[in-house]
Symmetry: C2
Subunit: 309 residues, 2 copies
Amino acid sequence: MKSYAIIGTGAIGGYYGARLAAAGFDVHFLARNDYRYIRDNGLVIESKDGNFTLPRVNVYSSAADMPACDVAAITLKATANHILPEILPAVVKKDGAVLVMQNGFGYEEQVAKIVGPERVLGVLCFICSNKTGPGHIMHLDFGHVTVAQFTKDDTPSGITPLIKEVAADFTRAGITVHTAPDLGTARWKKLVWNIPYSGLSVVLSALTDAINKNPQSRELVVNLMHEVRAAARACGHPIEEGFVAKMISDTDSMTPYRTSMIIDYKEKRPMEVEAIFGNPLQAAKKAGAKMPLVEMLYQELKFMDENNK
Amino acid sequence: MKSYAIIGTGAIGGYYGARLAAAGFDVHFLARNDYRYIRDNGLVIESKDGNFTLPRVNVYSSAADMPACDVAAITLKATANHILPEILPAVVKKDGAVLVMQNGFGYEEQVAKIVGPERVLGVLCFICSNKTGPGHIMHLDFGHVTVAQFTKDDTPSGITPLIKEVAADFTRAGITVHTAPDLGTARWKKLVWNIPYSGLSVVLSALTDAINKNPQSRELVVNLMHEVRAAARACGHPIEEGFVAKMISDTDSMTPYRTSMIIDYKEKRPMEVEAIFGNPLQAAKKAGAKMPLVEMLYQELKFMDENNK
């Protein structure tokens, strides 16, 4: 059984780390503000798939105290990624894998610069989960992940042995896993959902169901999704046309969801504006594609982020 | 000295009506919620050009009680325009003029259907004024108006005798007046300012100075302005290119201003979304022009308006 370092014990790291620990993996959690609470009380997962608690977990307030693990999962907010060059070498073995489990775009490349490209996977999390208190995670809907391999030149890797290994671990932990031969396409597909719903949740101060219910904002979501799809194609990652309609109808049937971006905004934390908007805009621009509506959303969010301090 | 009916005694009607009354015109104010207060206390104008009070004014709670005047000035919110077919015939003489002093687009046409096109002027108000309480108007900046004549086919009227007459009255009341030979161009020019600042003031919950200060929202204002300018040209109303830069720098040097749209939003009143956004979008569409960024702002505002009840 492999050892896992979970870098950030929030809505993502808390949930998936707890699943891995409950399945018997040797899991080590890094926590900042919640360290004492988790040390004394463990983790509580309220899940649509059944609640469970881990009264005792291995938790650390500093990466320097952690053992080097077989796999490190980055589950920080992307806005905290500047700490990775210092942390990563300590928490993962020299030949260990690093899973980028964050929202947004461009972070596998950042991590590859620290540990080398062949050890980096993107693990895209399709989950509605919120941290409701220290060590307390509420899992509302979905929960599956897509695992894909980073490549230096953004070309498809196919399904590598490393993908299969990690997929097997997650499957063993009861998590539904998809594997993808092309990380770029997987990341762009996730943006098709993330860009409209994360952005508009903040600008409109709304949950997903309200955004879908109003005819004008619903139309705006569709327009934004098509723009992202066109940019993805320009970047060499075509997405089938029906994907937009599927994302809309999946959201229609989903539990009304408060995105992590609006939670960050309401709690006056920095939002992942560059991760979800700025970096894809840059990538599209490099490929000669414009996303005027996405850019407008980016500009609105930059204003709101700066004026939220 | 002509008689004036002021239909709506708020930030616009209260200010300009008071100026006309102070200059000796026979002014009759229609007020709804503020009727009793104004009847008992008159009007108080705090103005950057000098404060003044009118302790007694002719004020009415019903149009049926008002005398038919030489000129009727419509200073209602455009969202209340459905009452005009009933009110207008009562408050203006059969050959009297009607001044559309509202924000937005398309209302002269509506009024022309009630009183005939040759009697309808657009009076565009370039003023930062707010109603701070019943009968209490705060005039912060600017204050000039542009007077132009409605024509049925949206072609330039030139400077008609009626324009000159009304311009003379307003000038006598100490108001700086410009006259315009083409109402369409004048309306589109006003939209160049109104669309970005009114819309973004609500979406970003911000005053004009904050919108201009942030580099991303400033860029968004410029992008929106150019889009409006392109639509104006498509509609046969070209606006010189330097106008955008002038609007930006005028706003830079202007007193930080809370737009009437965000005041409506915060006080949970309906916003003039159709007036300022919906109607121009329709007009542009008819002329084969697209305004994708303006449409996105419209969609956002429609959502916010509907969810503000």
